[in-house]
């Protein structure tokens, strides 16, 4: 059965230094796939190469059977993206940003409902640059869900959110997952990974140090907790003990 996301032989280097090399993985429909790894290992680069916002050196990418480079317009009617860094004009209000995003899609979700779900209803008329870091993060997740997507890419989705907000985001995403949403996310938080992810890929030195479920990762490691297993796979546990 064709996978929703199919990546094959993806490679990208900057100034001769290979960031990702011959990366291959797939994500099935309705699955949540987590990309993990240390800072600078290539998680965001991988996501951007998949989406086509960065040109990969080699490899093929298919999302919903479509090529992000040659079939961009058709593909992104069904895909939502939340980037790690903010990308909005100065002096724009929350409502205006949501309206501008909504008008790009034929069958969008109602942004007011999404704002309510993520606790931002009272910020509708506020300027985006007046929001706190966590509120901005929630807004960008709202923007990624406005397209009513079949696939969503979330780059560090809960960085900067308080505990209650994180749980609210998880709950919303799990509800959407029940409706068949496919999610690819990157995260530094193992509790989030354990709750959300069906499968994970731990990046190290341009490739996967591990790919599989959270339980398999823990079972393969000499540890019982996912956080310790993750540090073991990335080789960072030794740095802590030095």
């Amino acid at each position: 059965m064709e996978k929703t996301i199919q990546i094959s032989g993806l490679s990208k280097s900057y100034d001769g230094k290979k960031v990702i090399e011959n990366l291959s993985f797939s994500v099935a429909a309705g699955e949540v796939y987590g990309l993990l790894g240390a800072n600078g290992v290539g998680k965001s680069t991988t996501i951007e190469c998949i989406l086509g916002t960065k040109k990969a050196d080699s490899g093929t990418v298919r999302i919903l059977g479509l090529d992000p480079w040659t079939e961009r317009k058709q593909l992104f009617k069904q895909v939502g993206v939340q980037f790690q860094e903010a990308n909005y004009p100065d002096k724009i209000k929350v409502k205006e940003l949501c309206e501008e995003t909504t008008c790009l899609y034929r069958y969008p979700m109602a942004y007011k409902e999404l704002l309510h779900k993520f606790g931002l209803s009272d910020k509708e008329n506020a300027f985006v640059n007046e929001l706190s870091g966590g509120q901005k993060q929630k807004l960008f997740i709202v923007l990624s869900l406005i397209p009513n997507p079949r696939v969503v890419f979330l780059d560090e989705l809960t960085t900067g959110l308080d505990t209650k907000a994180r749980r609210g985001v998880w709950k919303s995403l799990l509800e959407l997952k029940k409706n068949g949403l496919t999610i690819v996310l990157s995260s530094h938080f193992m509790d989030e990974v354990e709750i959300l992810c069906d499968r994970i890929g731990i990046l190290k030195d341009g490739g996967f140090a591990f790919e599989g479920t959270v339980k398999e990762a823990v079972a393969l490691s000499p540890y019982e907790k996912m956080e310790d297993a993750y540090l073991w796979f990335t080789g960072e546990e030794d740095e802590d003990n030095e």
Partner: protein, 124 residues
Amino acid sequence: MNKFFTMLKTELKLSFRGMDMVIFALCMPVVVSVILGVIYGAKTAVPGVEYTFLEQSFGALSTIAICAGGVMGLPLLISDYHQKKILKRYKVTPTSPAFLLAVWLPASCIFRCSFFQGQPYLTK
């Protein structure tokens, strides 16, 4: 068309809030017109002609206003949006980043037209 008008409305609001278009396309030409009017008043451009210095200068003033807002405005917008990665956000939507820049052109025309609408009052 709904997409176009929604984005046009938002870009116009952002232009007014940003103030740079308001300053260069509206305020600057008005201020210079007033200064020329104060200095030269109703004096003719050169002895023996019927038109005033202000009337003679209006074409040049309009050109400066158009170039300052139009020719300068678009590169500033592109570089600003590129630096803020706004154009990158449009790459992952069904709409091309070029559409956003194309919406800006009629927005800047509205600024030009509003200046020309006030021209008869300035030269009186």
